[in-house]
Symmetry: D2
Subunit: 253 residues, 4 copies
């Protein structure tokens, strides 16, 4: 029987500003990428989100990002190795305190937004993130795109790596995500997303914009939480997977 993990970004509120329906989303996914305060997520929302994740038996991951509340971590910042490493370690330590207070622990790391994108190719920043995870200890897993500088650096650094696919993003034949600036980059039909997800997990392929079956493996599929209808899409994907006899569980043992 096939197995897959579903992950989503949660805890992205800040102060009085809400974002997403974390409670509903955490009923669907098995892994929660929780914001750590630098691009989103204040301490009280971090606590609440960790408590929800523990109560719903969702694995806690640190969604680390650039220090940029005004830009929601979606703008590349040309940070040096040391400062980025330390900003990431800061976020890991802070989130872990809330995870532990809730009876859990941080089990993996997934970079957020512009940092996630930068780590496709930026080896210096990838090394900084990996250095932070290693400093933190406990051999946390690292969740990222197949072929990314991040996963290479993590693997070289002796950390467990996990590969991520996107249910609602179009792929090129060379295995890259189609840029969001191009038409058709994002798949809005839940039924289509769900079908692609089932094929990915059961058959190990995803169809590309060129209509070719691309071989792809994934440990986790990302479902988004901050768009309209996000929860419904996530539920549809989950149902489709369950109906296809796919077992859904965290990639962390």
């Amino acid at each position: 029987m096939s197995t897959i993990d579903l992950n989503a970004d949660v805890g992205e509120a800040f102060g009085l500003w809400p974002m997403g329906d974390d409670e509903a989303l955490l009923d669907v996914v098995t892994s929660a990428n929780i914001a750590c305060g630098m691009h989103a997520g204040d301490p009280s929302h971090m606590r609440r989100t960790c408590e929800l994740a523990v109560a719903k038996q969702v694995t806690i991951g640190a969604h680390v990002g650039y220090r940029d509340l005004a830009g929601f971590g979606r703008r590349f910042i040309d940070m040096e190795f040391g400062n980025l490493r330390d900003d990431v370690l800061y976020q890991l330590g802070a989130l872990d305190a809330f995870a532990r207070a809730a009876g859990g622990a941080v089990r993996y790391v997934k970079p957020h937004g512009a940092l996630y994108n930068a780590l496709m190719a930026n080896r210096d920043q990838a090394a900084a993130v990996v250095a932070a995870v290693r400093d933190f200890g406990g051999r946390l897993g690292v969740l990222g795109l197949p072929g990314s500088a991040l996963l290479r650096a993590a693997s070289d650094g002796g950390l467990p790596t996990f590969e991520e696919a996107f249910a609602d993003r179009a792929y090129t034949t060379s295995g890259e995500l189609v840029s969001r600036r191009l038409p058709g980059a994002v798949i809005h039909d839940p039924a289509v997303s769900a079908r692609r997800c089932v094929r990915l997990v059961r058959d190990g392929v995803i169809d590309t914009v060129e209509d070719i079956d691309l071989p792809l493996r994934a440990d986790s599929v990302c479902v988004h939480g901050d768009t309209a209808g996000a929860v419904e899409i996530a539920q549809r994907i989950k149902e489709a997977l369950l109906e296809s006899n796919v077992s859904i569980k965290s990639f962390v043992a």
Copy 2:
């Protein structure tokens, strides 16, 4: 033989802005109150300060403060229980990650600035700080003023408490610090500070502004680091204590 701890605030730089001579000060004190990023101290300075403290065998304490870089944590903020508790827990977790990366650990907590002052009497905020320390786990010590709401709440919460005295601050006969707004509140002569410190540790008294010997006990004496000549004053106090056969060591076992 008498024993005392010397503590100082360190790690108060932020980004490109330096503050104090931490390296020299950490050669003198046995306990380091390290800023945690909310009122001062960015992640890279937190790392560097923890590394220095571990190298010099100085005990690491979390100098937690209000979220207020522009005010350096010196302005009272009327925070609710939950938000303050969570801001403190956030800071504890973040600092501990750096302490552990350096081969140490956070061993105690001392509130900073306006939060320290508020915790003399503000029971709600004292309870919030204590709740955070308890959530963090590991029975960290709490360092504060004798008679403060903070130490009462910590004691009620089952945490080890440690009493602090100030070498360079004038006391009233009722045991309170003379307000900084009054003349004579701060003692600028290192020789006087040193003499008062020796009497405090050896004889258990401190002289007050009314020139009366006030019985006072202390586990730790605070020496300041951010004023001109601070390091020299700290060294003078340490020498005077050592010459009086006082043993200087951390209050944490």
Copy 3:
């Protein structure tokens, strides 16, 4: 014929986090209290809100607050005169640049949240706000609660003052707002709010929690924008006023 102004807080989004339906609310009110970036409102939302206000011929006011994004300006900060004066002047200058770029100008000032509440009685902070408004020049109006330290300081400082009433807040017989912590402090029925508003403007009275008619005059009535149904309530109030032959227009000439 009676005349009244309707004001609302707008521009309270920050970065990716939205708040309220400014576009709809600006179709109802005649004065817009626009957040200036310290407690809410980033520069791009400030621009957008000023453009909307100018397009809809709504008078622009500066909704100045404490520097506290995490607390949305709802926590008292014990700021000194100089720092508060300068934080307020900073906000005035910044907002005015956007107002002018949109073809308008800042015409009045209304403090936000905890600062608004503090200025009921805190004369030092009231003096700081007034000093900033005077430094800014142009004799901006000051909008606040009748009897507040703010309006006294503004009046003493030669600034035009305008008195504000709340459609959806209960009053005591002594003319104060019932604390939000008490039951019945907030009126949720739009029809009741509308009726009270009409009586206030036409008859110069508002009914109190003790069911007594309190004489009250107001230049402007505040309608809230950040609660569910806020826009509908504002519209109901406006309709009721228009049906009672009350003219609704800005208090700024």
Copy 4:
């Protein structure tokens, strides 16, 4: 008789953290690039620096930067046109309020740090800065590197442009600054800096790292304030210029 302007970055303190000796530096230069709060400079320091500049008859310029206190504006941020334009306009408005309160006005704009460097070639960000200056109105001057995307955009936008040279930086034969990462990029000998400055102003040439005289013209020479001995270097340059009968005055009429 030749004429030149001397400019320096000032007002770069933040809260309790000082930086540079603004008072001494403002006795030397004729143009002050004043930080506006996003990368450095809190409102109270902005006020103080404007007051000093007005008292010493130094022209006030807005030293606008990326929103990045932790990085002091020295890290490139990949901002979109609209957000950067609005962040710059925000800073212009805020600083101008303090300049006017002090009896002056903002007369020119010089980008800071990583933004300055980005504007050598980044046309989108250059257009954003110019759009903000145009929105602000009053035809402020724009101070930047000869040949930069910034000056081209400013010139295309109808703004007065002014060219800047660096007394203490080595040039390549193609007229670019030698990267700070290369040896010899920064000239530390005040006598050498002063001599180069005199040749630049009187003869219109600067010697390059290849020991060739590069023709170069400049409206203003930047002297740095945040390094050890900065004020002394600035004074030496000024004296050398005055001894060579160069008149030193602001490029703003």
